[in-house]
Point group: C2
Chain length 320, copies 2
């Protein structure tokens, strides 16, 4: 009997919750346990198991791979928060903020290594090559993101390439790993990765929208952070592209101004004038439709695809 | 025909020099190339190839594993320098100093992932488990080292456990990887790891001595740094253990005082009074003898062991 999305999520919760993360020295592992126990949506390991199940694979054998992607994802959060100086994540203090810089650095390193150690389990070690390529692509995406901070002329295509690396690659990678463990046909793996790519892009664009327009309580992070940090998000890039000359001049002036609540409000007001939010939400809708189409084309029954369809559905109109 | 130590070092030099490290984005890879091209002794990949050759293995098939240990070692240097705020390494600016904190963080991450990617080559991927365990032990060692910074009561045994993890584990690991690729008998691998453990401890203790007593030009780092940073080195731990009450009081006072050349001189004078240097050098001699004995016990001809014996010999009385 195939597991539903909720059941797969419970399997993932069980895998992560029953994994002992605390070893010696505690100073190294306490932040790791903290980070992994905070929860979050655990989308990536769920996708991996769903992909494995879709093609009739043994999801129990895939557990170490699911742990690998979740621990890897948490490594990226710990180091990204350190680089960005972010103090809040999932409504709780970040590792860097709760402990200190060196702890976030070294615990993140340990998590990255742990991810590879999970992959050394015999049932999953053939994923090493694709996993390491995916990992390096995520880091490349983070570097592009940092590069963009110093630029005002980031194009829509450059931005999409960056979030593809930074976010969608891990979605694709998790799906590909699960499907590979189930020995899925190459053509179907390709379609599944199209699903993952489009879903990943939609997810990241939604994150951009939520950072500016989300509800802080459900979002778990302070909103307006991207505007404060002059982050080149899809909202800002779209605004700069579609602004009239007065609006563009105002945006440039605001980008040069120091952090303040007034700055966030003023930028948001210009976004509203230009209609940036609905433009980005239209794009999100396009990606979600393409994800859905790719999923529909996969050679498997409609019922078997239910968890991945439900996952897509859940990400439509999410508020956190 | 077996290769000599010098020939093995040349093979390693060729492997590293002919590896293209520069990809896009350049901001991520330029520090990686810089770090790997700086050279250094490249002891660890040389040990790996020497161990492989000792047991009749195919050293060409071991090349990706040699790259993995060298790139991993350089990752530890980049992140350690960042954590320590060190500005000089191998006589050149550190990555953190030449670029910035976030660059050192992310490029180090990429190097760590690259090390695992090299291991995904079919001929060497069976080393993944031992490599990832070794990697996590090195990070644990670094955490203990950081923990010790806040303590004045670090014992000799605690210190030796720490440097075992931080330094000797990678020596052992490189040797074990090489021997495993050559399908060496378990008992001989065990002896080879004893050699590596003792050599690694001697090497790190020698590093402690050189940091305080070395020649800056050949050492490649500023000397006296450990004293300035109140690092719990074997010199300081031995001094605190063997000091009379006046000397101990003076040391505690100096540890509480700010960085200065006078502080370095004063601590060094107390070390000289207590005879700390010769005590630590005696210990180094003991470890080198044990390494030599373990090597001698391995079931292989005297000639076949020449590169590893020469390596040991080279580390005796090194000045950098």
């Amino acid at each position: 009997m195939a597991l539903s999305l909720t059941q797969l999520q419970n399997v993932v919760k069980h895998i992560v919750d029953s994994e002992p993360f605390l070893h010696t020295p505690e100073e190294l592992y306490a932040p790791i346990e903290y980070s992994l126990r905070l929860g979050g949506k655990r989308l990536r390991p769920t996708m991996l198991l769903a992909a494995c199940q879709l093609f009739g694979g043994d999801i129990e054998a895939a557990h170490p791979a699911a742990l690998a992607v979740e621990v890897f994802h948490n490594y990226t959060l710990v180091h990204d928060d350190l680089m960005d100086g972010s103090s809040l994540r999932r409504g709780k203090p970040t590792v860097f903020h709760r402990w200190n810089e060196n702890t976030a650095l070294l615990s993140g390193d340990a998590m990255l290594i742990m991810a590879f150690k999970y992959l050394s389990a015999p049932a999953v070690c053939r994923l090493l090559r694709m996993f390491s390529q995916m990992a390096i692509d995520v880091v490349r995406g983070q570097q592009y993101d940092m590069n963009f901070e110093r630029r005002l002329d980031v194009s829509v295509d450059e931005y999409l390439d960056m979030i593809y690396l930074k976010t969608a690659v891990l979605f694709c990678g998790a799906l590909r790993m699960g499907a590979t463990l189930a020995d899925a046909p190459a053509a179907d793996i390709e379609l599944l990765m199209q699903y993952g790519r489009n879903l990943g892009l939609a997810f990241q664009l939604q994150d951009d929208v939520l950072d500016t327009y989300g509800d802080e309580n459900t979002f778990g992070k302070k909103t307006g952070q991207d505007i404060s940090d002059n982050k080149k998000t899809m909202l800002l890039i779209t605004a700069l592209a579609d602004a009239n000359s007065d609006q563009r001049a105002a945006l440039h002036k605001l980008l040069a101004s120091p952090k303040s609540d007034a700055k966030v409000e003023a930028v948001r007001a210009i976004y509203d004038c230009i209609g940036v939010r609905s433009k980005v939400e239209k794009l999100i809708g396009d990606y979600l439709r393409q994800a859905d189409a790719a999923l529909a084309a996969i050679h498997a029954t409609y019922e078997a695809k239910a968890p991945l369809r439900d996952l897509l559905q859940k990400l439509v109109g999410r508020h956190s």
